[in-house]
Amino acid sequence: MDLTWTESQQAFRAEARAWLTEHLAAWREAHGGEHAIRSGDTREGFAQHLDWERDLYEGRWAAVSWPEEYGGRNASLWEWLIFEEEYYRAGAPPRITQNGIFLLAPTVFEFGTPEQQAHILPRMAAAEDLWCQGWSEPNAGSDLAGIRSRARRVDGGWILDGQKTWTTRGAFCTHLFGLFRTDPDAERHRGLSYLLVPLDTPGVTVRGFGRLDGDEGFAEVFFEEAFLADDAVGGGVLLGEEGQGWKVAMATTGSERGLTLRSPGRFLATVHRLIELYQANPRPDRREALVDAWMRAEAYDLFTLDTVTRLAGGAVMGADSSINKIWWSELDCDLHELALDLLGPDAEREGPWSKGWQFALSGPIYAGTNEIQRNIAAERVLGLPRK
């Protein structure tokens, strides 16, 4: 056990910190100052954030852990952690490219052909193609295997029919990755295929709608006899094999690049803002809760160091990711709930904390509800009987 950073890691941190400080300031100034920057989940804000994403790409910070040929730095997981920590410490904004980089890219690395990788990844890193996820449907939420959207094989492509929903930032993205039923006779998680769909495909309609906080962060995507040409995406629109969509989609959900390895930097940054809020107006009746919040964020950081140590040693992420997801999502809610406590009557005002609270509430719901995560932890980690 050695909890110190190497010199090269320290240099990496210093470089990231310097770049972020300088470029964040420049970006904000270019858009009229920090207060003029809207949420990336609004149409206006999305455009502002695109500038930021493209600047990140120019600086080769868009996807540090990727190979250099795709726009990354070939950074180790440790460096990725360092970058994320610096990113949140600097107060940089949530990534509008996140669903592509964290959810689609790991799958492309594992299942994509070299052609697909060469086409998709650099354009994703450069924020030229903006990807949203098309998994959920009106009747397939927690029960993803209930997917009904269909893709029918035709000459030179697929005909898509059906509806996706709760597609984050769908109204502003250019492409969708999603699961479609390609074998109409198969049931549940069989007969699904993982397809890549440009959203300007004729027959595809996108309707944005308001998330809990009112921002247009969600979309419904309708497919009506939409013809998806095999070459609509460079390297081909089918990711992995036909009929293997479930396996393809699930293979990387717990992977080291997957969403479940959520950066501790985000929560450490939040808890430090919380400490500042407290210091400005100490409330002894909330002091212990704040200590607890700090410890839980710190514990999440330590748990992540432990995980990354194991991954760096060749282990693969397993069902442990279930308790990880429960921990950070409930921590995020509690951090913001505590902030609202500290704000007292001002908690009612819309502001960063109130927005953050509403955002945090999605944590226990999306990417597998926490109820499902608890089932997974009990069944796959502890080995309790399924039924």
């Binding site: 959920s136 709760w166 609202l340 009612e348 005002r349 509430l361 608890r374």
Partner: protein, 322 residues
């Protein structure tokens, strides 16, 4: 000892419930988010005024119903359940018994906090004297409003700038100011119980109907337990609010303690129910297109207004000697 309601009180509650179901469906709450300042629709409000609800606490010889808080508590719960966007707590619970002359006017007030709901829509403003324990009843043209964006758009909140003058004064008795605040805090507590009930009912209906994995979501034990806990918290907060009604009505020496217990428990219970309701709805509840957010955001606002739970717990603590 009788911890219940008489037939008249139940009938009054039922009449208001019927009225609100017809005149204050979710669309009316939603419309209050969007209506320009000063243009809050008064359809349901006028009907409540006509029924006498707004002057429940006003003496009969002053044109009111001459009833006390015990007759109002179930009615206020119904207004919470309906998500009524109008400031009925400020009007009927706080202003009416203090200044019966306001009649059926719509009264906004800063007694519950600096963010004044429906300030731009009000006929009168009941305002706390900035310099001493006193209350003023002020005309809209004597104040300057600054709209404030808050979590619940239907609250239509603004801050109020004004100057007290001797002729706007309606009381400078500190005890009367305290009583007015307690009435407001209690009114908010009653509404919170109703809001919690609304969210629980919506969620029970949803999880009974929604299927995933081939079965109703409500058949999963985890969902059952979330909602059983929501039911429990609400069921134990409700008597606290009803007891506070009694303490207000009879002028009990424990009034402040009982009101604070009511507000703290109702705030926490409704907040908790909201968390369970959202979680059990899942992504469907996490949009502004679904009605759940209308009631959940009102809950968040009311839980913090009129003294947040920590403030009220502190007051209870002083009352019980710690």
């Amino acid at each position: 000892m009788f911890f219940g309601f008489d037939d008249d009180q139940i009938a009054f509650r039922d009449a208001v419930r019927d009225l609100l179901e017809k005149a204050c469906p979710p669309e009316v709450v939603r419309a209050a988010w969007d209506a320009p300042a000063g243009e809050l629709d008064r359809g349901v409000w006028d009907q409540l005024a006509e029924m006498g609800v707004l002057s429940t606490l006003v003496a009969e010889d002053a044109g009111g119903l001459g009833l006390d808080e015990r007759s109002l508590v179930l009615v206020l719960e119904e207004t919470g359940r309906a998500g009524l966007p109008h400031p009925i707590v400020e009007t009927a619970t706080v202003a009416a018994p203090l200044a019966p002359e306001v009649g059926g006017a719509l009264v906004a007030s800063d007694l519950g906090g600096p963010l004044v709901p429906a300030a731009a829509d009000a006929d009168r403003l009941l305002l706390r004297d900035p310099d001493r324990p006193a209350l003023h009843l002020v005309e809209p043209d004597a104040v300057t409003l600054t709209p404030v964006e808050t979590v619940d758009g239907a609250r239509r909140a603004a801050t109020v700038a004004w100057r007290p003058t001797p002729d706007t004064l309606i009381t400078d008795d500190p005890a009367a100011v305290d009583l007015a605040f307690d009435r407001g805090a209690w009114g908010a507590a009653a509404q919170l119980i109703g809001l919690g009930q609304r969210m629980l009912d919506m969620t029970v209906a949803y999880v009974t109907e929604r299927t995933q994995f081939g079965v109703p979501v409500g058949s999963f034990q985890a969902v059952k337990h979330h909602l059983a806990d929501a039911l429990k918290e609400l069921a134990f907060a409700r008597p606290a609010v009803q007891r506070a009604a009694h303490s207000l009505a009879v002028g009990a020496p424990t009034r402040a303690r009982d009101v604070s217990m009511a507000k703290a428990m109702a705030s926490d219970a409704a907040w908790f129910v909201g968390r369970q309701a959202l979680q059990c709805h899942g992504a469907i509840g996490y949009t502004v297109e679904h009605d759940l957010h209308l009631y959940m955001k009102r809950t968040w606002a009311l839980a913090k207004a009129w003294g947040d739970p920590a403030w009220h717990r502190d007051r209870v603590g002083r009352a019980i000697g710690i």
